[in-house]
Amino acid sequence: MDKMPGWADAVLVPLISILLASLISALVILAIGHNPVEAFSIMVKESLTSSRGIGNTLYYTTNFIFTGLAVAVAFHARMFNIGGEGQVLLGGLGVALVCLYVPWPHWTLALVGATVAAGVFGAAWALIPAYLQAKRGSHIVITTIMFNFIAAAVLNYVLVNMLRPRGAMEPASGPFPEPTHLPTFQEMFSTADTVLFRSAPVNVSFFLAVLACFAVWLLIWRTRLGYQIRAFGHSESAARYAGISPVRITVIAMLISGGLAGMMALNATMGEAERLVLNASEGAGFIGIAVALMGRSHPFGIFMAALLFGFLYQGGLELAFWTGIPQQLITVIQALVILFTGALDNMVRMPLEKLFLALRKGKA
């Protein structure tokens, strides 16, 4: 029996969770001696009211779309991929190798090459945890956590011992050559008279992220493979009975998930830094968890959630700049969103279900 109408499940529950999370965030801001209303208005002003602010917001949104989709695809197969962070790092390595060592004639070709490299490297980093989960039953959460740390060590080694230019102190690669630089929104949308998106890092990979949303929607709801992934996620025994191979689905879902996470590096590494740095992911791999949970693992929801987190991230950075509230406020909000939409879901859901049940009885 359906306890709640569909719209309540898809909109009302996440909305109440977000309200609870923002209420507690406001209390936190109050407790550290700042005014939450003022803080919120600074965040809005600095991230949504100028084209520079919007450009920064969309830059972070691009990151979170990729990592959010990555977590969501794994969720559909009932797997929890905490390894986004490591997959992003390896994706960045793929991007860097392709950009540094292939003489690209034009950025369009470079983007295609780098996308493939990012996807392949990210997917490869998800392959071992996926295989171990499918074949040997090793818990994917634990193995992907371990692979995050291993990825950090690998990247550290590669940057320090291989990619670092001679004589440089910082563990980072040399700058990518000119033809691999992606056009930013500033270059694309500014006219001779007005400069839009001034010095904002948002670039052409935003459209790639939107494309990825559409592609994931097609995959999950319009293809045979997507059906198999969802069936496997709902009931492994039923899927097995229907002739769906658990090993195959586990591995494929994780490869797609890892590939999507890896592609985040296009935006951060090729689009923004234009070289490979040690911490290219900036925690976006983890924010993807919050984004996927809030977006209910649906690409449209993820797009909206990524916009919200892009706003929070850009707003939070500016807030740190203007008021001295540390940017870790974003981490707290992210934690609260994960807590309320993920772990404490039933706390919101159970009273609502009772309410709707009571309403229905009242009508009948």
């Binding site: 936190v28 090793s138 740390f149 291993i150 001295g324 540390p326 870790q328 934690a335 807590l339 772990a343």
Partner: protein, 347 residues
């Protein structure tokens, strides 16, 4: 490698293993009762902050008053001052903070039957963000606490006759330099290994706790509260993580620094799997991982003649070993059967 170079490495192994061991035993209680906890890291971190912060405030303030937030009311607490040394108040504050996160974890995963892994992830982020926010608000040093001095730090215990036995060949340095002169919490951590074994495998509470992680329906049928037992296990986990965090910020280091646990909670989790959820094996695993950390700290790149082992390999080794163990190539690690599953009473 002679004794003179070996002893400092082994001594730092003991120090570095202590927080791992405490967190690992914390995870052991929780996971044996069927509650997965990847929030060990966050609990240690928040405990580290509150223990360092409270110990510092206890030393630097003559009069203690608690201002109730959002009101003008305040409570005088100066009479508490002589009851415990400042570092003791720090330890209690750390344990309380860690238990607060445990309570949220219990609420989410036991009461509301939410996803235990997601709850653990959320709590790790909560701790990582809150510690810096509060540290900045209280001390304005970029998310750090000031360096602790004097009574705000854990004192070192010198075992009896440590000084007079130092000149005995071989055994003297081992006793006086290696085993003596650690903080009391170090000895507590090592004493907790047999204690944990005894509680889990020789008491009625332990039997029930293990049963609730393997077959909660059986425990329920016997008329014992599944919810109560699981909350008890989560609370013990909170206490132990609190001690681990307090040791890190008042013993291992004399301050709290941003993200100072640096993945130790995850290494403890790795050690827990490595030890297959058994106390004595946990001791071995934590000593091994502590030794790896000590070697990485002391030597950086290790020259083995034919080739050099880069420091990054030493950093990654605990995680690689855990993946190998998880893969089942060196004996299979089987978690408690009901682990991660919320218990729903049959009707």
């Amino acid at each position: 490698m002679d004794l003179a170079t070996l002893i400092p490495v082994l001594e730092s192994t003991i120090r570095l293993s202590t927080p791992l061991l405490l967190a690992c035993l914390a995870g052991l209680f929780s996971e044996r009762a069927g509650i997965f906890d990847i929030g060990l890291e966050g609990k240690m971190l928040i405990a580290a902050f509150f223990s360092a912060a409270v110990a510092y405030l206890a030393v630097t303030n003559e009069t203690w008053t608690l201002h109730l937030p959002l009101t003008d009311a305040s409570i005088g607490l100066t009479w508490l001052r002589s009851l415990l040394p400042p570092v003791g108040w720090g330890l209690l504050a750390g344990i309380a903070a860690s238990m607060a996160l445990s309570a949220i974890h219990g609420l989410a995963s036991i009461t509301f039957r939410g996803n235990q892994l997601i709850s653990g992830v959320a709590l790790n982020f909560l701790a990582s963000g809150l510690t810096v926010l509060i540290a900045q608000s209280w001390f304005r040093q970029g998310g750090k606490t000031p360096t602790l001095t004097g009574d705000a730090r854990l004192s070192e215990w010198h075992l009896p006759f440590a000084d007079s036995l130092r000149d005995v060949p071989v055994l003297g340095p081992i006793y006086s330099d290696l085993l003596s002169g650690h903080a009391p919490l170090v000895y507590l951590a090592f004493a907790l290994v047999p204690a944990t074994w005894w509680v889990l495998f020789r008491t009625r509470f332990g039997l029930r706790l293990r049963a609730v992680g393997e077959a909660p329906e059986a425990v329920d049928t016997a008329g014992v509260s599944v919810v109560g037992l699981r909350f008890a296990a989560v609370a013990i986990c909170g206490v132990l993580c609190g001690i681990a965090g307090a040791y890190m910020a008042t013993g291992l280091q004399p301050f709290f620094g941003k993200e100072m646990t640096a993945g130790r909670g995850y290494i403890a989790l790795a050690a827990l799997i490595f030890s297959k959820w058994r106390p004595w094996y946990a001791l071995g695993a934590c000593l091994l991982f502590g030794f790896l950390q000590a070697v990485a700290l002391r030597f950086q790149n290790i020259d083995l003649g034919a080739f050099t082992v880069p420091v990054q390999v030493m950093d990654a080794l605990p995680y690689i070993l855990t993946v190998v163990i998880l893969a089942g190539f060196v004996g299979k690690a089987i978690p408690p059967r009901a682990g991660g599953e919320p218990y729903v009473k049959e009707r």
